[in-house]
Subunit: 192 residues, 2 copies
Amino acid sequence: MKNILFDFMSKYVSLTEEEKNAIISLDLFRSLKKGTILLKEGQKSKNSYFVLKGCIRAYYVLEGEEKTTAFYTEMEALTPPCVINKTPSEYYVSCTEDCILLVSNSDMEAEINSKFPKFELMCRILSEELLAKERIDFDEFKTSSPEQRYLNLIQKRPDLVQRVPQHQLASYLGIQPHSLSRLRARILEKKT
Amino acid sequence: MKNILFDFMSKYVSLTEEEKNAIISLDLFRSLKKGTILLKEGQKSKNSYFVLKGCIRAYYVLEGEEKTTAFYTEMEALTPPCVINKTPSEYYVSCTEDCILLVSNSDMEAEINSKFPKFELMCRILSEELLAKERIDFDEFKTSSPEQRYLNLIQKRPDLVQRVPQHQLASYLGIQPHSLSRLRARILEKKT
DNA sequence: CCTATTTCTTAACTTAAGTGAACGAATCAT
DNA sequence: ATGATTCGTTCACTTAAGTTAAGAAATAGG
């Protein structure tokens, strides 16, 4: 697991043994069971998550309905908006599978970053990349139909379609579960 | 104009006179006429934009149609994905009004950031904030209907509805111009 | 293993968005 | 000023998504 992390980080900065040890000594690795809730609506939190194994999802509860808006799988990171804005969380985060996560908190990050400018640099580059990616995803979403979005998802994250329940995928695609069922049937018919 | 910039920056870091002078000496301020194209599809660019006055928009040309996906107005910043990913741009950026912009390039930013760790810190915080905001916007988009999105826009960015052509707003809302017209008529009827 | 719950699909109906055509209004270029 | 293009609205029609209800399939818990 440590190697997976350091491989990931090496894409951004090269680390000395001292720096690696500093990270390990923080003791950030956590094993969590499927269904574990990491963050609840209304809660204040300083925790960020990096998925080493498994899948976590962010979802709102609106009028009693769960609305899933994001999945984070291997090598993906989530710092919930409530951590950045220091406000109570608008949404829930839970493990959709057994997970191994890196859980860090923002105070600790600030300390590490001021001690190792290299980490500060890595965090800046990483969040710039994530922002660029998020904007492209948003743009694609805006400019395509539900059907195109589903076909696009099959191409780009085929694993998600397999490992995640349909009704969670539906709201991720911005539609009702019924519509996703119908849409899938429609696609199957076209193929034949 | 310089004051507007330094007021903005002061929310993130406090600057010494030396640092302010370093920024001014970079000579980043640009006045641009309405209609000026800042970035074209296929073009490689290292430029980021910060809007001091006016409005710029990002749009794709898909099957001959312009699809506007974002507007940036006063105090908003755009670093196009092509700058981050070092790839040819997927979209266009143009001025929808006469603008005063700060135009910086990524090489220069890297140099400044390594010289002044304070700027590195500011950039990290800023992009984390923008990422959090972008995710919330995306979540809201996913979980609401075109009509709700339009009503939401009137609340959150009433200026946009005034200063930007309808057909550009439409694709920003993820719908066809015709649908926006109809939707507006529908809302007016409900009110009476 | 069996029941209870959740999840997924299908179908019928309603509502809204996509599409194409037509028209007036606004804008732009000459 | 005027003719041409672009822009916004309206209408009729098509297509797809929202909604409600019902039942089959899968899953979880005892």
